[in-house]
C-alpha cells in the first residue's frame, strides 16, 4: 500500500508544516510554498509517498492549518 499526496493550491498559503514533516520529499520555493524535491513538472500534481513516510504524511494532512493537503492511498 502506498499513497499520493495532493496539494490544493487554491488553499495553500505556504505555512510550511508539510515541508518540515516531509523534508525528504519537499522543500520550499523562493516564495515559501512547498516544492517536491525530485519531480519534473509533469509528475508534480500528485506527490508519491513511500510507506516509511506515510505516518508523517498523515500528520501533515492533519496539521495543515489551511487544510490544503489530502492523501489518497493507492493499491500498488
Amino acid at each position: 500500500m502506498s499513497a499520493e499526496l495532493s496539494i490544493d493550491w487554491t488553499r495553500c498559503q505556504g505555512r510550511g508544516l508539510c515541508v518540515e514533516l516531509l523534508a525528504q520529499s519537499l522543500t520550499t520555493d523562493p516564495w515559501g510554498y512547498p516544492l517536491p524535491r525530485a519531480s519534473q513538472p509533469e509528475g508534480r500534481r500528485l506527490l508519491p509517498i513511500a510507506d516509511a513516510q506515510l505516518p508523517a504524511a498523515k500528520e501533515a494532512v492533519k496539521m495543515c492549518p489551511v487544510t490544503a493537503l489530502s492523501l489518497r492511498e493507492t493499491d500498488h
Binding site: W9, T10, D29, W31, Y33, P41, E42, R44
Partner: protein, 412 residues
Amino acid sequence: MTTTSIPTAPLGTLDEPRLLAAGPQAQLTEHLAAFGPLPDASNDREILHEWELSSLAGRGGAAFPTSEKIAAVLRSVARTGRAPVVIGNGSEGEPLSHKDRMLLTHAPHLILDGMALVARIIGANERFLVAEAVDHPSLKSAMAERRDTSIELHASDDHFLAGQASAILSSLSGGPSIPQNLREHLSERGLDGAPTLLLNVETLAHMALIARYSARWFRAAGTNKDPGSRLLTVHDQGQYQVVEVHGGCSLDTALDQLGINPHSAQAVLVGGFHGTWTTDLSARLVTDITQPSNTRSIAAGAGVIEVLGHGSCPLVRTAEIVTYLAKSSAGQCGPCVHGLPTLARDMHALASLSEDAQLPERIARLTNLVSGRGACHHPDATARLALSSLEVFDQELQAHLNGTCLHDAENQ
C-alpha cells in the same frame, strides 16, 4: 480522402464549408434546408457508434477524444445511478479566439442540435449552454424558434480563465468564474456532484453533422491521423478571419489560401496565448502531437493562429503576452501569483535589451518552478509559451543579450 499512402497535396481550407453550410446567421428554415432534420431516437445507438468511429477530438483546446469523454460519463452514470449533466462551452476567454462566437452567431442551431442529441443519448435532463452575454441574442432567437426550453443559457464572465472547465462549474454553482481545485474528473463528479459532460460548442456542432452524415463523411476531410475539419481564427496585421480547414492542414497552404503570403511571416504563434511559436511554416496543424508522424506537426489547440511579420520583434510580442497572462491569474495559487509576474518582468527585461546574461537561465528556472503547481494549467501554459520563445528565437535572444534587436525599433 487520404486513406492511401499515396502522397497527396498539402491540405488547407475546405472547398465547401461544413459548419457554415447553412449560410450566415442561419435561422431554423435555412438550417433545416441545408442539413435536414435531426435523426430520431431510434438511431441513438448508431449515432454513439458513429461518434466513436469519427475519432472526433474536442475543439476547445485540450483535444480529448469526444467518444471517450462520453463513455466515461456513461460509466459513471451506470455506477452512481445519477442523471448526468450536459454543458456546452462557448465562452472563449482567449482574447485572440473568435471561432466559438462566430459559430454561436451563425450556426446556433447546429450547436443546439449537438446538445439535444448528446443529452438525449446519455439521458441528461439538465442542460446548460455557457456563452458570453453578447452572444445571447442569436442563441435566444434560435431557441425561441425551436420552442426549446430544455437548455438553460448561462452568461460567462469576460476574462481569460472564465472558459476553463472548473471555472464554468463554479460559475454555474453560483460561485466566482475562476478555476477550482477538482479532485475528481468532471465525468465522476461535476456539477452538484453529478456526472458531467462538458463539450466545446464547435465539438457539439461537429457531433450534429456526424450524427446526420456518418463518421465516414466526417473523415473524408482531414487526414487519417487528424480527421475532419476545424475552425481557425487567423490573425495577421491587426485583422482576423475565422476559417474552416482540414485536420492536419499545412500552415503555409492555409495562410496562402487566406491571402496571407507565407513569406511575409517571420513566425507564427499557434494555439493563442497558451500556445507555442513556430518558424516552420510547412508544419501541419494537428490534434495530437504525440502521434508519430513523418512530417513536422504542431498542436492546433483551440485553433488560434497569429502571424508575426518581419518588422516585429518576437521577444517583445512574447513579453506583452506573458504580461497579459500574469495579470490574468485568478490570484489563488501561490506559485502562479508570485511566479508569473516575476516571469513577466524578466521577459520584459529581455525584450527591452537589458543585457543581463543571467536572464535566460532565470527564465528557464522560473518556468520550471511554476509548472504543475496550480489548480489549473494557466502557469504551465504561460511557462511553455515563454520557453518556446527562447527556443525558437535563439538569434534574437543572443542579439538582445548583446544590446541589439534584429528587428527595427519602429514597430515596437
